[in-house]
C-alpha cells in the first residue's frame, strides 16, 4: 500500500483537476512569467491574474510593502483587458496540459457579464473564478463581495451566461463571511474560494507617510494563514458546494491543514514569490503525507477534521 501512488484527483464543482494545488490569481502572472522556473504541467490548475473588460493601468507606485511574515499589495488590478488576454496570453497557457481558470473582475454587473461571455466563447478556459473581493478598487469589487444580495445577484447573472464551472472568490473583509458564502451558493455558484487579502496598511514613521501610494493594501502571506483557515473551516460547515482554501499557504503542512478542515483544494499565492517551486513541493508533500498515513485517495483526507479530538 505504501508504495502505491495515492490518488490526488479532485472535483471542483464539475472541474476535475489532477491534484488539489493551484496558483492563486495575481501571484503567477499568466503562466509565462514562471514557465522558465516551474514545471507548469504538474500544477492542478493555473488561475490567471484578474481580467477586466478594458485594460487597467493599476495604481501608482509604490505598490508593495513587506510586513511581518507577509506583504501588503495595492496593484489595483493592472491587466491588459479581456481581448488582449484572449489574443496574447491565453495561447501560451494552452500549450500546457493544465486547466486554466480565468479570474475575472468587473466594476458593474454588466462588465462581469461581458467578460464572462467573452471568455466562455473562447472554449479555452476550463472555469471562471469571479473576483468579487478585491479590496483595492474603490468602486466595484468590494461592494459585490461584502453585500449578500449583490453577491447573490452577480453569481446568478454569471451562471445564466456560461456553462463553465463558476468559482466565487470571497473577501475576508466582512463581518460574517458565511452569509456571503451562503448567498453565492444560492445564486448557483459551483464552488467558493477564500480568502482574498485582508485590508491593511503600513506607515513610514520617519517621513510620516504611507508606505503604499494607495495608502491601504491587501495583506497576504503566512501572517494571514490562521485567519484564512478559520474562515474556510466555518464556511465548509455552512455550504454544500466545494470550497477552495487560500491564504498564506507556504508548504505542504499548511495545505494539509486546509484539506483536513474540508477544503477540496488549495491555492498558493505569495509563496510563489518566495520560491517559484513552492506549488510543486506542496504537491509532493501532500502525496508523501498520504502515503505515510496509508490514505489511498486525497478525497479520503478532505474534511476528516476531528473537532472533538484532544491531544493527550
Amino acid at each position: 500500500m505504501k508504495n502505491v501512488r495515492p490518488e490526488m484527483q479532485v472535483d471542483i464543482g464539475g472541474l476535475i483537476i489532477k491534484n488539489p494545488v493551484m496558483t492563486a490569481s495575481g501571484t503567477f502572472g499568466y503562466g509565462k512569467e514562471y514557465a522558465p522556473y516551474v514545471d507548469i504541467r504538474r500544477l492542478g490548475a493555473i488561475i490567471t491574474k484578474g481580467i477586466s473588460l478594458e485594460p487597467r493601468a493599476g495604481n501608482k507606485p509604490p505598490r508593495i510593502m513587506e510586513t511581518p511574515c507577509g506583504m501588503l499589495n495595492a496593484i489595483g488590478l493592472e491587466n491588459p483587458g479581456a481581448h488582449a488576454f484572449i489574443k496574447e496570453k491565453l495561447p501560451f497557457l494552452r500549450e500546457f496540459d493544465v486547466p486554466v481558470i480565468a479570474n475575472i473582475f468587473g466594476e458593474t454587473i454588466e462588465e462581469f457579464k461581458r467578460v464572462t461571455e467573452l471568455l466562455s466563447e473562447t472554449k479555452d478556459v476550463e472555469a471562471l473564478e469571479i473576483n468579487i473581493s478585491c479590496p483595492n478598487v474603490k468602486k466595484g469589487g468590494i461592494i459585490f463581495g461584502s453585500n449578500p444580495e449583490m453577491a447573490h445577484a452577480v453569481t446568478k447573472e454569471i451562471k445564466r451566461l456560461t456553462d463553465l464551472p463558476v468559482i466565487i472568490k470571497l473577501t475576508p473583509n466582512v463581518t460574517d463571511i458565511c452569509l456571503i458564502a451562503e448567498s453565492v451558493e444560492e445564486g448557483g455558484a459551483d464552488a467558493i474560494s477564500l480568502i482574498n487579502t485582508l485590508t491593511g496598511m503600513s506607515v513610514d514613521i520617519e517621513r510620516r507617510i504611507p508606505h503604499l501610494a494607495n495608502i491601504t493594501g491587501g495583506l497576504s502571506g503566512p501572517a494571514i494563514k490562521p485567519i484564512a483557515l478559520r474562515m474556510v473551516w466555518q464556511v465548509v460547515k455552512r455550504v454544500k458546494i466545494p470550497v477552495i482554501g487560500i491564504g498564506g499557504i507556504a508548504n505542504a503542512r499548511d495545505a494539509l491543514e486546509f484539506l483536513i478542515v474540508g477544503a477540496r483544494a488549495v491555492q498558493v499565492g505569495t509563496a510563489n514569490f518566495v520560491d517559484p517551486c513552492a506549488t510543486l513541493d506542496i504537491i509532493d508533500g501532500i502525496e508523501e503525507y498520504l502515503k505515510r498515513h496509508d490514505i489511498a485517495d486525497v478525497n479520503d483526507l478532505i474534511g476528516t477534521f476531528d473537532e472533538e479530538g484532544r491531544a493527550c
Binding site: 503567477f28 505598490r63 513587506e66 511574515c69 502571506g221 514569490f273
Partner: protein, 267 residues
C-alpha cells in the same frame, strides 16, 4: 537555488560583502542583472531581496556570486548576520542587462553609494571585452564621506580614471557626484561615449536633467521594492514616457532594472 555562505564580511561601517557558493547550473549573470537572496527557511522577513551582482566566477563544479550590500532594513540586517556555512536561497539571475558597446572609445560610469556594486561588475565586463584596445573607462564615484567609498580599490584597478566626490569633502570633490559630472559632461562625445549610472533616485533625476541638453546615451539601473523578481506580481512598477508621450508602466524586474534614462517619467 540553494547556496552556502563562503564569507560575509563587514568591509566598512554598515556595508557587507557576501560571497555565496552555488551549484554549477547557476547561470552566469550579465552585467545589470540581479539575484534575489534570502536566508533559507525564514518567513520573517519573507521575501528575497534584489541585489545587483558585484562579482561572479566559476570554478570546477561550482559557481560563486558576490553581493556587496548596505544594511538598510530588516532584510539586509538578517543577511548581515549570516555566517560561513549558512544556507542562502539565491534566485536568478533575473532582469534585463546593460547594453554593452565594445566599440565605444569612452565609457563613463556614475555611481552613488552602494550603486557602485553593479557598476563594478559592468566595468569589469567592459575591461575584459576591451582589453586589447585603448578604451577609456572613467568613473565618477560619490559617497557621503570617505569611509563610505566602499569597493574603491577595485574600482581604481578597473578604471582608467576615478573622480571621487563626497558630501562632506573628506575625499575628492566636495559635493554631489552629479555636480562633478556636470563639469565634464560636454566633453563626452555622444557618438563614441556611453554613460552608465546606478545610485539613488535623486541622483538619477539630476543626471536626467544634465543630459537633457547633451545626447550621450545613458543607461541606469533602478532599484525598486520587489516581490517575485520575474514579472508576475506587478509590484515594482516604474513609470516611463511612451512613444505617444503618455505615462506607461514598466516592471523594474523584467523590463528593467536597466532602463534608458530618457525613457523614465520622473513625475
Amino acid at each position: 537555488m540553494n547556496g552556502t555562505v563562503v564569507k560575509n564580511k563587514e568591509i566598512c561601517a554598515g556595508h557587507f560583502l557576501l560571497s555565496v557558493r552555488l551549484p554549477e547550473s547557476f547561470q552566469t549573470p550579465m552585467p545589470g542583472q540581479f539575484v534575489m537572496a534570502r536566508e533559507k527557511g525564514r518567513i520573517d522577513p519573507l521575501l528575497g531581496r534584489p541585489f545587483g551582482v558585484y562579482h561572479f566566477e566559476r570554478s570546477k563544479n561550482e559557481a560563486t556570486v558576490e553581493i556587496l550590500y548596505k544594511v538598510v532594513g530588516k532584510g539586509t540586517l538578517v543577511l548581515s548576520r549570516l555566517r560561513e556555512g549558512d544556507f542562502v536561497e539565491v534566485l536568478g539571475p533575473y532582469g534585463r542587462a546593460f547594453d554593452v558597446y565594445p566599440e565605444a572609445a569612452m565609457v563613463v560610469f556614475i555611481c552613488g553609494g552602494i550603486g557602485v556594486a553593479p557598476i563594478t561588475y559592468l566595468a569589469s565586463h567592459y575591461r575584459m571585452q576591451t582589453s586589447r584596445r585603448n578604451v577609456k573607462l572613467v568613473c565618477y564615484y560619490g559617497a557621503s564621506k570617505a569611509e563610505n567609498l566602499v569597493g574603491i580599490e577595485k574600482i581604481k584597478d578597473i578604471m582608467s580614471e576615478v573622480l571621487i566626490s563626497t558630501d562632506d569633502g573628506s575625499a575628492g570633490y566636495q559635493g554631489l557626484v552629479t555636480q562633478k559630472f556636470a563639469e565634464d559632461v560636454s566633453s563626452y562625445e555622444p557618438a563614441s561615449s556611453r554613460v552608465y549610472a546606478c545610485g539613488p533616485r535623486p541622483m538619477f533625476k539630476q543626471l536626467s536633467e544634465l543630459l537633457a541638453g547633451h545626447p550621450v546615451p545613458c543607461q541606469i539601473l533602478m532599484e525598486e521594492r520587489m516581490a517575485c523578481g520575474v514579472g508576475a506580481c506587478l509590484g515594482c512598477t516604474v513609470l516611463l514616457n511612451d512613444a505617444e508621450g503618455r505615462v506607461a508602466h514598466a516592471r523594474a524586474c523584467i523590463d528593467g532594472p536597466v532602463f534608458n534614462i530618457r525613457d523614465i517619467h520622473w513625475g
